[in-house]
Amino acid sequence: MSAATTVGPARVSTWTRARGNPAIIAGSIICLILVIMALFAPWIAPYDPNKQMLGPQLADPSRAHWLGLDSFGRDVFSRIIWGARISLWVGVVATVMAMIAGSAIGIVAGYFGGAIDRVISGVTDILLSFPQLVMGLLLVAVLGASIGNIILAIAITAVPAFIRLARGSTLAMRERDFIDAGRALGFSDMRIMFAHVAPNILDEIIVMGSLWLATAIRTESTLAFIGLGVPPPTATWGGIIREGFEYLNDNYLLAVFPSLAILITMIGLNLIGDGLRDATDPRAPQ
């Protein structure tokens, strides 16, 4: 590219800016460690998460059991590593499902407007008025506590937020000249919505997705804590906290370690989400 380069807003530099952002780097390192933990749990975890050891119940951390044993004599460190699998899997699948479904519905509402938009926006507003946890609780209670139903329930609670985001962005996009140009080239509404509008609002949806991933993981843990999570004996972070909660007077560490795991995950995901948001925000200082 010789003459006439780089005028106008530098859209492609979003990822360049994101790469150098310290928050994103820190968040990515945390999340990468979590993902490796989850993927390679069978090799990383020192013990079978469900095996009952011969040591004392609720043992304090020791060299053999870094984070101690739970009330059944199971190794807490191994259970937390296996718990990462459930939390990340549920969080990622639910968020991706919500992102795809919510964005598609939101783009349709924003693009067509009129009666379609009024119906979709009305339903979205109703769904948004429920607290997320109450909604998740209701759905899991109705559907039954299995991993598939928990994913579905969390995805449904997250969908309205993506609908609203995609609708708003599409409304702004619809007034742009290149949409009219696409119509003048004979492209169908489907093509304009999903080949032209969608790539333009992808940035915002991904940023929102990274922030909602944290919420989804937190919701999964909360559901597990109140006993509506993936049923025992499967190790989940919320489930371990719940057990630890019952023995808080005997050994409070049992509740503290999985809570820390959740805390670190939240910090990692929010660092990435906030960093991405700053990197995509044209008003943010360069």
């Binding site: 590219m1 010789s2 003459a3 006439a4 380069t5 780089t6 005028v7 106008g8 807003p9 530098a10 859209r11 492609v12 742009r176 000249d177 290149f178 009219d180 140009a181 696409g182 119509r183 003048a184 080239l185 004979g186 492209f187 169908s188 093509r191 080949a195 032209h196 790539p199 333009n200 992808l202």
Partner: protein
């Protein structure tokens, strides 16, 4: 479909737009034909109906706000008005290309220029992505974008306004349509770039036998590229003539006023005479001649609508005016 059929023919097209629940005629019985290698210009102020005429041809009137109330549109002798939206999608971009006013915003900022030129070929012509992108490079050469092969993957923000308008032309012509509608194609460009873009369109027109419908308010552009001119006011064609005749013998008071209001190098700017008043809104349009409220020659009979009447022997110079046109009734 005979060889004599004009590439684009518009016959008594009437388009209505809705304002506060009432439908108003914004284009009134407009007729014209554009033949291959010919450029017809639609000229007039904002709101005179020239862009609505283009949108009517494209089938792009906003739903519920604009509608075609009468008349017929034909491409190469084949009627296209009244077709469904799905049928029109096969015509737009494929048999009619359109170039817009704003090259800076008419391209999708997140898709590469090469892909955007290739897209209509993939979509309308079923070309493979590879073949379409190879053709995109050829088209970029055709519209004289330097080092096309290197820039095919570049994004719109890496192009200047003039280059983007070339990209828009390449896009409009990707499927080799026979009709090109250019809606104010040079308004947003620098004067030197305007001349280049107009020359480019004229060159492509000759090599591809294009019929060009040029929509503009710039009489200088009209003088340099158009063959025929239709002057529109308030949705009416008020004067229709070969470009030479129009500039030599502007007959309708509105045409004369437009020419008098045009800055020219060969006369002092003090002589520029703006047209008094404003274009009435559609709701306030006078009955009869629509220009009467601003016309210096207004008479009693202007309350009746004059018809478009030939004022020369060949019948090619037509005027809609009681006073100047000598129309009987």
């Amino acid at each position: 479909m005979s060889a004599a059929s004009p590439a684009l023919s518009v016959d008594t097209l009437t388009t209505e737009i809705r304002s506060r629940g009432t439908w108003y005629q914004a284009v009134r019985a407009v007729s014209f034909q554009v033949h291959a290698r010919e450029t017809v210009a639609l000229v007039g102020e904002s709101g005179c109906g020239k862009s609505l005429t283009a949108l009517s041809i494209m089938g792009l009137l906003p739903l519920g706000v604009g509608r075609i109330a009468g008349g017929a549109i034909a491409l190469d002798g084949e009627a296209v008005s009244g077709r469904s939206d799905a049928q029109m999608e096969k015509i737009r971009g494929n048999r009619i290309g359109m170039v817009f006013q704003e090259p800076m915003t008419s391209l999708n900022p997140v898709l590469s220029v090469g892909f955007q030129i290739a897209e209509p070929l993939i979509y309308h012509r079923g070309l493979s992505r590879r073949a379409a992108e190879a053709r995109a490079i050829e088209l970029m050469h055709l519209v004289r974008i330097p080092s096309a092969a290197e820039r095919v993957g570049a994004y719109p923000h890496q192009f200047s306004g003039g280059m983007r308008q070339r990209v828009m032309i390449a896009l409009a012509l990707a499927c080799a349509p026979k009709v090109l509608i250019a809606d104010e194609p040079t308004t947003a460009l620098d004067v030197t770039i305007q001349a280049q873009v107009l020359a480019l369109i004229a060159g492509l027109q000759k090599s591809a036998d294009l019929a060009v419908l040029l929509i503009t308010h710039n009489l200088g552009v009209v003088a340099s590229v158009a063959d025929r001119v239709l002057v529109m006011y308030g949705g009416d064609v008020v004067e229709s003539a070969a470009v030479r005749d129009l500039f030599a013998r502007p007959t309708h008071p509105y045409t004369s006023a437009l020419l008098a209001a045009m800055p020219r190098a060969d006369r002092s700017s003090a002589v520029i005479a703006p047209i008094p008043g404003q274009v009435p809104t559609l709701a306030d349009m006078p009955a009869g001649c629509r220009f009467q409220s601003r016309c210096p020659l207004r008479e009693e009979r202007c309350a009746q609508r004059p018809s478009l009447t030939a004022i020369d022997a060949a019948g090619t110079h037509q005027v809609r005016c009681w006073v100047r046109g000598g129309a009987s009734s």
